[in-house]
Every structure is written in structure tokens, then in C-alpha cells.
């Protein structure tokens, strides 16, 4: 359907206006100007910030530069989470641009994984794609693909090539005609307020009676606290790619149209803004 394909493009081309500023305690030879960049929601921080690194390294001494890392209001930003997820989770109800602080010292070992090269990002991305397919198709589709197809997924993401990416990814979104959807839906639910990193469980897109399970059904099952009670006040927003999908939306549709390139639905539960 034309409309549904448009959703794929809207998701792919989503951008977040961001202002990068150097941490005040970094040693510089002259004042560091902020650096402005439109970040792709579907990508990863360390994949799209080479220019940011170059910009700030120009005002620093070589010996003061170790691995770059990013922080928002005191929270280290995990580069291995998609950018759109980080924004929705931490800053979606604040004024734009998103103000990110850049660090080159005191890497927070307990909070962040190291990212020594692009290969590490590729390995992480492909591992997520494989995990998603293990849930959707018992890994049958991803395993049937050749190495060059896997590479094409990564190159499509790295080079922001929608058609190149979806030529392969569409196969990961198919399912046998006799079924109504995937075996299980790859999803992760994040909340800043809880200790655990995210909720991920087995969840079928179709109920025992043949009805399509909805986003509301998913939340009821794995995160009931996120649902507003019948006559209660709405305390949370359930956000994917910066919007709140209707709770009646079938999760199969969400999985096919609003997953990130890693084939996971990354869902943020955030406090309802009070204004």
C-alpha cells in the first residue's frame, strides 16, 4: 500500500537537530565553538559523528584526546542504542536543539561500551539483526542470505541508502502465507525510571483466537504499569520514533513498518509532559 511504504521512508529519514558542545573541563588551546548537526534517528552516534570529533579535535592537543563519548544532562549516552531511541527516552519533551556534551576524557567504563572502530558498530548492528530474525523466523531468513546481503544491510545504513537497505530488509519482513505474521515480535521497552536496561520477552503477533495482538495487548502483558487505567489520568507516553502510536495498532504492523534498521521495535515509556 502506498501509505504504508511512506511510513518506511518517514522512519528512515527522521532527523534530530542537535547541538554538540565540548565539556567545559576538557583542555583546549582556544575556545571550542558548538557544532550543529542533524542526526539520523535510525543510526548510531559513533557512526555519524566523525565531523563532530574532527571539529573539537582542532582546538585540542593530540595527547588530550582519547576515545570520544557523549553525555546528555549528566547521563552518558550509549552509542549502541539507536539515536532516535536515546532522544525519545531522554529528551523528547525538551526544547530543540538537543544539547549533547562531548567528552574526550574519563571514559565511563561502567556505563558505556567502547567503540574503537566502525567494525564494532557493524558487528553490533548485525548481531541485533540476527537476534531479531531468530525471534521472527527462527533465523531461517537471515541464514539463507549470503554474506553480501548482510553487507548490503550495513552499507545501506552506513551510507543512508534507503533503497539499498530495503532491497534486502524486505525479505526479513516477510512471513509464510499460511501464518498471519512473524513467530515472535522483536521488541524492547525502555524506561528511565527503572533499574533494568529494557524489557524483552517472547510475544506473538497473533492471539490464540486468531486476532492480531495490538500495542495495548503487548503493554498489558509485559509492562502493565504503562497503561492508563480506565478512569485514571494518563501518566505516561508510549513512544516510537517520536510519536505515540495508537494502542489499537497491531504489533505485526508496527514490527513491519516502525522497526529500526536492526529490525527491533525500540519503545520508550516516558512521563507524560505536564504542560
Amino acid at each position: 500500500m502506498t501509505d504504508d511504504k511512506d511510513v518506511l521512508r518517514d522512519v528512515w529519514f527522521g532527523r534530530i537537530p542537535t547541538c554538540f558542545m565540548l565539556y567545559q573541563d576538557e583542555i583546549t588551546e582556544r575556545e571550542a565553538e558548538p557544532y550543529y548537526l542533524l542526526l539520523p534517528r535510525i543510526s548510531y552516534l559513533t557512526l555519524v559523528t566523525d565531523k563532530v570529533k574532527k571539529h573539537f579535535q582542532k582546538v585540542m592537543r593530540q595527547e588530550d584526546v582519547t576515545e570520544i563519548w557523549f553525555e546528555y544532562e549528566g547521563t552518558p549516552l550509549k552509542w549502541h542504542f539507536p539515536i532516535g531511541l536515546l532522544f525519545d527516552l531522554h529528551a523528547s519533551n525538551t526544547a530543540l536543539p538537543w544539547n549533547i556534551t562531548v567528552h574526550f576524557k574519563n571514559f565511563p567504563e561502567k556505563d558505556l561500551l567502547h567503540c574503537p572502530s566502525k567494525d564494532v558498530i557493524e558487528a553490533h548492528f548485525m548481531a541485533c539483526v540476527k537476534e531479531a530474525d531468530a525471534l521472527k523466523h527462527k533465523s531461517q531468513v537471515i541464514n539463507e542470505m549470503q554474506k553480501k546481503d548482510h553487507k548490503q544491510l550495513w552499507m545501506g545504513l552506513q551510507n543512508d541508502k534507503f533503497d539499498q537497505f530495503w532491497a534486502i530488509n524486505r525479505k526479513l519482513m516477510e512471513y509464510p502465507p499460511e501464518d498471519s505474521g512473524f513467530r515472535y515480535i522483536p521488541f524492547r521497552i525502555y524506561q528511565v525510571t527503572t533499574e533494568r536496561p529494557f524489557i524483552q520477552k517472547l510475544f506473538r503477533p497473533v492471539a490464540a483466537n486468531g486476532q492480531l495482538n495490538t500495542l495495548g495487548d503487548l503493554l498489558k502483558e509485559v509492562c502493565p504499569a504503562a497503561i492508563t487505567p480506565e478512569d485514571g489520568e494518563k501518566k505516561n507516553q508510549v513512544m516510537v520514533h517520536g510519536i505515540e502510536p495508537m494502542l489499537e495498532t497491531p504489533v505485526q504492523w508496527l514490527s513491519e513498518h516502525m522497526s529500526y534498521p536492526d529490525n527491533f521495535l525500540h519503545i520508550s515509556i516516558i512521563p507524560q509532559p505536564t504542560d
Binding site: 549502541h80 561500551l113 540476527k130 537476534e131 531468530a134 525471534l135 533465523s139 537471515i142
Partner: protein, 111 residues
């Protein structure tokens, strides 16, 4: 500790365990790939919140591998979970017959 050996079969002498905290634990079965050394004890009971990195460090110590040596962990012989992934979540999604089977290898086995 990171992991405890799985309980001994019935009939054998009871081993005194240190006081457990209230976190639930899951059973993990570790399988060696290729010419990676095989662990004498393959079955372990691990806290749900233990990360893959924590498990890697534990296996390396147990096998007396050097810290700089790499160790890869695979689920379903198909994907390598992120180092910060919790074993409890992996067990929920990929466990079978009451345990999570993990393959470990000194080199990349399944990409």
C-alpha cells in the same frame, strides 16, 4: 560469585551454599566451539542480571585465558549478544528445557 555450579543430582552429599540474595537465577549450559578449551563443569546457575561481559570474564578466569584474549559468546549458534545484555532476558527469549545454552569460542564462529 558470578556463577555457581548447578545443584548436584539427588543422593549425592549436600554442598553448603553461601547465603543467596533474593534475585532469581537461571541455568546456563556452556558449550565450547572448535578448539576452544572445554570447561570441566558445563552447567552453571547464574543470576538473571548477570551480563554477557560478566560471564565472559568468568569463563576466561576459569579457563585461565589471558585478559587480552578474545572470547565470543553465541546464542542459538546464530548471534553474539551485546556485552551488556542480561542472561535473564536471553533465557526468557531463547531458553529451552529450563536452561540457556551458550556456545563460547576464542575466534568468531558465526559472525
Amino acid at each position: 560469585g558470578v556463577a555457581e555450579p548447578a545443584p548436584p543430582p539427588a543422593g549425592s552429599p549436600v554442598i553448603e551454599e553461601p547465603p543467596e540474595d533474593t534475585k532469581k537465577k537461571i541455568d546456563v549450559l556452556l558449550k565450547a566451539v572448535g578448539d576452544t578449551p572445554i570447561m570441566k563443569n558445563k552447567k552453571w546457575t547464574v543470576e538473571r542480571t548477570r551480563t554477557i561481559q560478566g560471564l565472559v570474564d568468568f569463563i576466561k578466569k576459569f579457563l585461565k585465558l589471558v585478559a587480552s584474549e578474545q572470547l565470543f559468546i553465541y546464542v542459538n549458534q546464530s548471534f553474539a549478544p551485546s556485552p551488556d545484555q542480561e542472561v535473564g532476558t536471553l533465557y526468557e527469549c531463547f531458553g529451552s528445557d529450563g536452561k540457556l545454552v551458550l556456545h563460547y569460542c576464542k575466534s568468531q564462529a558465526w559472525g
